[in-house]
């Protein structure tokens, strides 16, 4: 339609390009055997956390509300899809069919819960919303931790007491075993699928921000009364954003649960929600690219700090604090940006054709 590319479009395409480059770089390293097995194990989690960070950034950066229930939605996505995969793994043996279905199941379940929780919760604002979403996340986690589900020829058995309470027949099978969670989930998550889903998430996020709906949501963030006075149905747009966020978090949960053989609800505690919030704040509130970079760096960091073994978590904390100070303080940030520019210009003068600069991952 228009020939001129808007700055937002350019920004989004740069991000897509960087993602594809990073993916190719990792693939090359993988195929040449230059990645340690520990690092290999982190590839899917990096994608998972990036998706979570991007989705939470839609709530925090675009809607302007602090939600701490991200782990809860992730938990719903993880559990619902793991149940689905466990039930159908004998009937659908082809992972390329089974896994996309599992992703849809996880995403849709999480979105439904997101909307259900959103209706009462989005009446609150600021700190209150944060606390209530935190509580909902904990409720979801604890319900799943206390849930026993099994099935046999008679059908589905559900109990909140114990495994014995299910009274399964001899041919019965456990699906969720309380605090022990789900085991036997097929390992369908691969780095390639996770990377593709991350790319799709980013495309969804950028298009959402640049859409009519996205502008409406941002206008609510900027000024609620003005948004109402131009005729926006505030509840509707808040719910749309909340639902989308939950959907994406659910998908991250699907990737997460299909990356491990067994899954416990205790993994989805508030530490996880806070961790995702840290990614968002560190990457810059409202910056989708920043979220991904922060999630990747902070997921890799404990691994990179392995050499200092004992002091690993201490170093992690120090690096986190320093990074937070550097990114939040305008003077310090300016210092880094100026020097980075100087460095780049030096680089350009010295070498007419600089070698391709390797990206972080």
């Amino acid at each position: 339609m228009k020939k001129k590319i808007s700055p937002m479009t350019r920004k989004s395409f740069v991000t897509y390009g960087l993602l594809v480059l990073a993916f190719i770089a990792v693939e090359i390293l993988l195929n040449t055997g230059n990645i340690s097995s520990m690092m290999k194990g982190l590839l899917v989690p990096i994608c998972v956390y990036s998706i979570l960070a991007v989705s939470l950034n839609l709530t925090v950066g675009i809607l302007g509300e602090l939600s701490l229930g991200q782990a809860g939605f992730m938990c719903i996505g993880a559990y619902s899809s793991a149940i689905f995969s466990n039930m159908v793994k004998e009937t659908i043996t082809e992972p390329m069919i089974r896994f996309p279905l599992a992703i849809l199941v996880g995403g849709i379940f999480a979105a439904i819960f997101g909307l259900l929780i959103g209706i009462p919760v989005l009446r609150l604002r600021g700190d209150y919303l944060a606390i209530v979403t935190l509580a909902f996340g904990e409720i979801i986690k604890n319900v799943f931790a206390a849930l026993y589900i099994g099935y046999d020829s008679a059908g589905l058995h559900i109990s909140l007491k114990s495994q014995g309470d299910l009274k399964l027949a001899a041919d019965g099978k456990m699906v969720i075993n309380g605090a022990l969670g789900i085991s036997g989930t097929p390992n369908d998550s691969t780095f390639e699928i996770a990377a593709v889903i991350l790319l799709i998430t980013v495309i969804i996020a950028y298009n959402f921000v640049n859409s009519r709906t996205g502008r409406a949501v941002m206008s609510i963030r900027d000024n609620r009364i003005a948004a109402e006075s131009v005729g926006l149905n505030i509840t509707k747009y808040k719910l749309i954003t909340f639902g989308l966020t939950a959907f994406l978090a659910g998908i991250a949960g699907v990737l997460y649960s299909h990356n491990f053989y067994s899954l416990q609800a205790s993994k989805f505690d508030y530490n996880m929600s806070i961790l995702v919030l840290v990614f968002v704040v560190l990457g810059g509130i409202g910056s989708i690219r920043g979220s991904i970079i922060a999630a990747s760096v902070l997921t890799l960091l404990p691994e990179l700090l392995r050499s200092v073994n004992k002091y690993r978590m201490l170093m992690y904390a120090i690096v986190l604090i320093v990074m937070m100070i550097c990114t939040s303080n305008a003077t310090i940030r300016g210092f880094f940006v100026r020097n980075a520019q100087k460095f780049i210009s030096l680089f350009k003068k010295n070498k007419a054709q600089p070698e391709a600069v390797k990206e972080g991952e």
Binding site: R215, A216, M218, S219, R221, D222, N223, I225, A226, A227, E228, S229, V230, G231, L232, N233, I234
Partner: protein
């Protein structure tokens, strides 16, 4: 029949009675001013009309339809646009996005494009700054943007809350000239102002509010010469 009719409107904030039964009407094509001191209930009246606050009792009737309980986003569609107090613009969006959001309830793309041009004609300074982030505009420009945004919903009544607040005298005159030209285009204006002199000079009729009640009403040209109004609001 009046275009907008307010009858016995009562509004409470908790236990505080903000409006204690006010009644007034707005006819098509008029400029109506609501004047009064701080806390008299002017802004509350506007917010209740545009659905941002719910009335405790009383009725608001727009062209024969009761809109007392209609939510804010539907009222915009029915033809009332609100220019909120204190230049509530969308700080982080561009000027053009702000204006576009004013037409949020409309679906006619060509009409919207046409009206954006109209807004630029009315406020040439906005067209110079259309790609700028709205938060970087000056106070007067932000007020113009809020007014331009309200006009984008093609309202039949524009409700303005303190458009002159915090502006320099030159800009105040400019804003009032623009209100004049909005009226000339056939839009009815309901104006809340602390600057009583200016408001009375362009209004057809006016109502004086005091602690939630209308204490005086009449032709603006009469009120401007009224002794009690002069004393209380014009500082003479």
């Amino acid at each position: 029949m009046a275009m907008l009719e307010i009858k016995d409107l009562c509004v409470n904030y908790g236990v505080i009675k903000a409006l204690k039964g006010i009644s007034f009407e707005v006819n098509e094509g008029e400029v109506i001013a609501l004047i009064g001191a701080n806390g008299a209930g002017k802004t509350t009246t506007l917010h209740t009309i545009t659905g941002l606050i719910n009335a405790k009792s009383g009725s608001i009737v727009l062209e024969g339809k009761d809109i007392t309980r209609t939510p804010a986003h539907k009222i915009v569609k029915m033809g009332i646009a609100h220019v909120p107090e204190g230049r509530r613009i969308f700080q982080n969006l561009t000027v053009l996005d702000n204006i576009r959001l004013g037409a949020f309830t409309r679906k006619d793309k060509d009409g919207i494009a046409e009206d954006i041009e109209k807004v630029y004609k009315l406020f040439p300074r906005l067209s110079e700054r259309k790609t700028q982030v709205a938060g970087t505009l000056s106070g007067g420009e932000q007020q113009m943007l809020a007014m331009g945004r309200a006009l984008m919903s093609k309202p039949r009544i524009v409700v303005m809350d303190e458009p002159s607040m915090g502006l320099s005298p030159i800009l105040v005159s400019e804003i009032f000239e623009i209100i004049e030209s909005i009226r000339k285009q056939g839009t009815t204006v309901l104006l809340v102002e602390q600057n009583a002199k200016k408001a009375l000079s362009i209004a057809d009729r006016a109502y004086v509010l005091e602690t939630g009640k209308i204490v005086l009403s009449g032709k603006a040209s009469d009120l401007i010469n009224d002794e009690s109004v002069k004393k209380a609001y014009l500082g003479e």
